[in-house]
């Protein structure tokens, strides 16, 4: 701990970890809330389909619905494992 002090840098605090985690989680939850009720189910089913072909974990598939004026855009992000 003294080391951090010595170099003038600050130890990454647990509070900043909390803030970061909350920001990600809450933006995700707000997005789900504002979207249609079927969004969580859709996400689960897409995840199952992707998993049939590639080994991905739950947090590597991200689905969100964004509104652009009159239209809604369904965005699907899959992080594929390196091979």
């Amino acid at each position: 701990m003294a080391l951090f002090g010595l170099f003038g840098g600050k130890k990454p605090s647990s509070a900043s970890a909390a803030k970061e985690r909350l920001q990600i989680l809450i933006s995700h939850e707000r997005n789900n809330r504002s979207g249609p009720d079927f969004l969580p189910d859709l996400q689960r089913e897409i995840l199952q389909v992707v998993k049939k072909y590639v080994a991905v974990s739950d947090d590597q598939v991200n689905i969100r619905l964004d509104r652009h004026g009159d239209a809604s855009v369904l965005e699907l992000n899959v992080t594929l494992p390196e091979r």
């Binding site: 600050k10 130890k11 605090s13 647990s14 509070a15 900043s16 909390a18 803030k19 985690r21 909350l22 920001q23 989680l25 809450i26 939850e29 707000r30 809330r33």
Partner: protein
Amino acid sequence: MAIVVTVTSGKGGVGKTTSSAAFAAGLAQAGHKTVVIDFDVGLRNLDLIMGVERRVVFDFVNVIQGEATLNQALIQDKRIENLSILAASQTKDKDALSEEGVESVIDALVEMGFEYIVCDSPAGIERGATMALHFADHAIIVTNPEVSSVRDSDRILGILQSKSKRAKEGGRVVEHLLITRYDPVRVENGEMLSHADVCDILAVDLMGVIPESKAVLKASNTGVPVILDHESDAGVAYADAVAGFG
């Protein structure tokens, strides 16, 4: 015009009842005719925090079910002239709070000239909590600087913005963030979320920060709302928050 102020949080044990008692007492002391209602049916506690537990004869559910009049159930505070308390039932369950029933009680309180109707919400997002939210004009979101409390507060904000009467009528409940059990030393050390962080995350206007304080337990031990302890840090912080609100 009467204003319904709901004190809510989602998560349990964060300080809703402590804050409801403080706000109701503070608003009444400022000269407003105020009533504070315990919505925690089955687990009443506001009566204890207000020090009126031995004076409860009839409760909120008795009034809703027509077993008592509102005048019989309202308990007049002995310290503060403008303050009344409506206790929750110990025996009935939360389903006893029908929307029509709650509305009729609130309407009758407005009729009686109450300026502030403070609703102490139970934890959770079930009937008691949603009924306390439903008629809110203002909501005080009580949040501890801690991950699960902040997350639950955001869920409550979602409910306020979609299911409250005001939201359904195309309006909006006025939201205020009250951060409680705050420890500035731990914040300074990076061990606790700062009030600015919590405000940022939830995007709600901050109405006050109440420190973690020994005075709160002392106040509840004796049945005196902590805001009446003018010497205490928490009492002063509540007084500041009420002054900014009222």
